[in-house]
Subunit: 239 residues, 6 copies
Amino acid sequence: MTKLSPQTRDKLKTISTATVATALFKRGLRIQCIQDVHPLAPDQPTLVGEAFTLRYMPAREDLNQLSVFRDRAHPQRKAVEDCPPGAVFVMDSRKDARAASAGSILVTRLMQRGVAGVVTDGGFRDSAEIAKLGFPAYHHRPSAPTNLTLHQAIEINVPIGCGDAPVFPGDVILGDGDGVIVIPAHLADEIADEAFEMTVFEDFVAEEVRKGRSILGLYPATDDRTMVDFAAWRRSTGR
Amino acid sequence: MTKLSPQTRDKLKTISTATVATALFKRGLRIQCIQDVHPLAPDQPTLVGEAFTLRYMPAREDLNQLSVFRDRAHPQRKAVEDCPPGAVFVMDSRKDARAASAGSILVTRLMQRGVAGVVTDGGFRDSAEIAKLGFPAYHHRPSAPTNLTLHQAIEINVPIGCGDAPVFPGDVILGDGDGVIVIPAHLADEIADEAFEMTVFEDFVAEEVRKGRSILGLYPATDDRTMVDFAAWRRSTGR
Amino acid sequence: MTKLSPQTRDKLKTISTATVATALFKRGLRIQCIQDVHPLAPDQPTLVGEAFTLRYMPAREDLNQLSVFRDRAHPQRKAVEDCPPGAVFVMDSRKDARAASAGSILVTRLMQRGVAGVVTDGGFRDSAEIAKLGFPAYHHRPSAPTNLTLHQAIEINVPIGCGDAPVFPGDVILGDGDGVIVIPAHLADEIADEAFEMTVFEDFVAEEVRKGRSILGLYPATDDRTMVDFAAWRRSTGR
Amino acid sequence: MTKLSPQTRDKLKTISTATVATALFKRGLRIQCIQDVHPLAPDQPTLVGEAFTLRYMPAREDLNQLSVFRDRAHPQRKAVEDCPPGAVFVMDSRKDARAASAGSILVTRLMQRGVAGVVTDGGFRDSAEIAKLGFPAYHHRPSAPTNLTLHQAIEINVPIGCGDAPVFPGDVILGDGDGVIVIPAHLADEIADEAFEMTVFEDFVAEEVRKGRSILGLYPATDDRTMVDFAAWRRSTGR
Amino acid sequence: MTKLSPQTRDKLKTISTATVATALFKRGLRIQCIQDVHPLAPDQPTLVGEAFTLRYMPAREDLNQLSVFRDRAHPQRKAVEDCPPGAVFVMDSRKDARAASAGSILVTRLMQRGVAGVVTDGGFRDSAEIAKLGFPAYHHRPSAPTNLTLHQAIEINVPIGCGDAPVFPGDVILGDGDGVIVIPAHLADEIADEAFEMTVFEDFVAEEVRKGRSILGLYPATDDRTMVDFAAWRRSTGR
Amino acid sequence: MTKLSPQTRDKLKTISTATVATALFKRGLRIQCIQDVHPLAPDQPTLVGEAFTLRYMPAREDLNQLSVFRDRAHPQRKAVEDCPPGAVFVMDSRKDARAASAGSILVTRLMQRGVAGVVTDGGFRDSAEIAKLGFPAYHHRPSAPTNLTLHQAIEINVPIGCGDAPVFPGDVILGDGDGVIVIPAHLADEIADEAFEMTVFEDFVAEEVRKGRSILGLYPATDDRTMVDFAAWRRSTGR
């Protein structure tokens, strides 16, 4: 399924969600950040990939006994086996972390299958184990109860909400220390290009600021000298 | 589509959501109440009908310009025209009342089409007008902004969450002054029968309590005399 | 049990919670208002009486089957029968209105027993019926599920929290359109006296303001003329 | 101070907040609704006027004894006396209704002074009395404690937030049953004109829908016949 | 007081809260997780012990001056000295972390007395110091203000709510990276046995998944081969 | 501008927010803690300095395009350049972390300018980079979107609310692992002195408790022996 080009994927790995947020903001897209999700490990790799989604609804008790997992077609288990390598598994848990969205076994399986990472606006169980996997994983907070307690997996790869952001299958997901942002699929290449260039400039600015330069005239570059200096910096650093 | 029998519908119209909640509780169903939704008018009729659902996701700005309503297949407008007479139009607005789920024109159209009522876990705009329709309508609170501001209608008649309750198409919806409850379709007849009988007993109890009788032994009927008195009351009242 | 004197009770019936809140504020008591509770009927009588409390804890499922009510010593039912006439039945529902604190039968029983009123920081079921009783009742919002769903009655007449306010058995409860306030028992007489006098002055101020007088110098009475006018007004109105 | 023309004021009195919200949405203004505020009385008049603001900050205890009101320059009292006739008194209470923003005496004074109405994203004390004034007043919920408990009035007529909406002094405020919306001052005339025309069309649509006409092709008017019918309706109704 | 057997205690130390949550879920116990509490240190030992409880109510200002701690019978201080070695000190702070439940001196005292750990659904002050103790401690978030600011210790070792879970004195508490779960006392041995066996199977599954095996047929073990492989694995690993 | 004496600054660097909270509590100041803000790095230095404030209001979309930063007088950028060395930059973000209050470039600039630290009750973007600066920084949680998305900087160095605490320019800010507390300017010296002495006693108590001594009679020192021992400890430790 993956239409995300290797070039764009590689570029995005070097770009922050903050920079992408600004690039989307310029285009009138203001709510693409998945709100209030956090990496399980502070040093986990950057998350990049196309969204493959799972939608949960509230779990009706009679339909959510443990035996339901014996059905190989159960949407949660099927989705874990169907999520394409390179994709990001994104779950709509209705921002409810009172029960888990998944645990370490399913997350390990996703990792083994070559999936790029996992996001829920609820919580993971076995969170300490997941944190050790070196696999990009984001949630609101840890949560021990089985998903059946409150969540019924109901649809695979449909448009969902996650942390108040719209997520369409195939949208490009980027995650770093600030959380996770959703780039509409048709904008992925252009956002990656633009944000890549913005990042070069921001790196220059950061270096200047660390040297003690004022932000006035520098950021944004309203001073003519700023762009002159930036050009020189690009030449000297080869960026 | 309506499989809800006229008898069950009529019975439910005389039963409270509280009594149904207890009957569902006996069966291990504890989260069937749509939480924190309120009738728009204090004197609106009891709401009974089968659920016909609309799912909203967060609105991506570029996909939710006013022009989208020019498309006759737009899910919100299509759903309003497709909802069967006698059904209840239930919207999953992700408990977000910061923008409207619908307004008085669509609600009036539903009413004209013979729909039984309307429920959202978000809010209605034109709420004062809706309140005057004499049509059963429930929401969390009034909300003036157009739904496009935050809600994108995405799927018609799929299983949804509404106010943290699971709602499957065809489930039987009951609403009164306490709010709205969802009866799983396969239980509708049996719950209606049982709750109808419970209501007769509760009416008897209420009358006794108003006369000054203690609840001990009466409610529940652990005193033998209670059932004797109840039998006599049924005979005398013809219930 | 009632130590609240008839005189203080009568005075309090003419005083607003707002005025009492100010009198308590002067004494360093800032959190005596039960937050976010509302009268079930807009025109219900003023609530005055000493607190008789019931504490709920979260309901463990195995201990909260419907059969528990067959036990006459069940704390919820026992409390309803034990609450003294003239007292106010105050429930600590941990601000959780997802299940009911009580319903119309128990509230009617309290009313029949001469109890002065009822308060919960959760919700009542059968709320429309309770609203018709003409009985002072306050909750956060209506809630259909039986209390067993989430609340287990565990202790009678112990100190509790209700809507983030401390409530000790015997504290004097006052409720009006703004909600409910808790007057520490030992302060009841002095607060009633002081608030009664404050109310006379506020009535004078309100009358003056309605006539078009500025609040500056009038409220508070920093202008000498204010107290002169007030004295004249008291004479002329006999207050 | 009032620059709001009588024509625009009169037009706005016939227009709903929902219609204005849509007109603002067309211009990219999506967060102008003051969220989660409610009219104190269901039948209070429509609120229209220019914003005159008061900003509260959290009350430091040593600076907020009752004696502060003896200072005629106290910002809350001064603001009440300074708010121009025809303006709307809008308070930034940081969405905190645990203490009052004002009470019936101050609101009555505002009314006497010819102020058009009052809005807070906190709560009013003496709310039942305010509700009887026939004066447009909006808050989140009733709240008995004096404002000094949690709110310190700190600035008059500066830009504020109210219910998550931006409010600049002079912005035009419109309130109805759905709540309150803020129209940027420079857009007031054009929004009033546009919304007035939209209202005429919506009234036509509502009438057609009440007659049983489908919304498809009618709302929005993608059917040619709709505009023909609308033109005829305008002629026949004189609108 | 400790009736928790050393065998069960030891077993529980090797079991996750997630596995216990599933074992309780099988028995219809769905709300035993203390919601939204977190370990103070990521590497603190597993928490196991019987619950010894302290209940806080909202602090009335006149009853909560610093001098109250001069009373050796003050419930907070008494509870810290009375909590049995091996027990877990669990505080009902009404999910309010705006003031502390306790600080490092009391927590150190508990540790010195041989108490197994400490849990509050509020917050600890001196949290950085507590985090260095190597003592199992859980709270919602750090909080500097003294408990007297908002919390009055009122009862020792009564049934409480903690993070929306029911906690009875003597219930067995288990805490790990996902948070804290409450095992009803009478189920402790059987849950420990069952969860211990479940853990063996989950460890086998985790190993297989890490090798690349699909979860279908493996987890749950609907494939006959799974149980054959598991039996072999147990033999080879001696578990 | 700094009136904070070097002596008081140095003393405060050795004192915890918890101890200061107690010293303020003694003086009736109960809400000086900025609620629910957290250090970006666990090992960042203690934060001490006088408050220099920035107030945000909700961002109206037409006034918050990226181009606004080209104005050198834009309040956010101007404030960053104006904040005095040694001061703490405190932002009122209305407790809304859905968009950033600032990012690593501005925070680095503050650090370079000798500012003592930075606090917002919203969130920072580039939070992982800020965490590496070794600069005291506090927020509610990371947030990638540019501040323009929701926050408009509107006033510099006015009294604000931050995390429900009142902050006046010049108030002394102290931050440690428990969060941030605000000391009214006129109390800074006396609080520092008192808290410094309290800290000596608490260190003695902590040492005794670590040795196994009971808190009864020790903390508070109701036992005569405690003060004798404390005096000896001070002599022997030279404190």
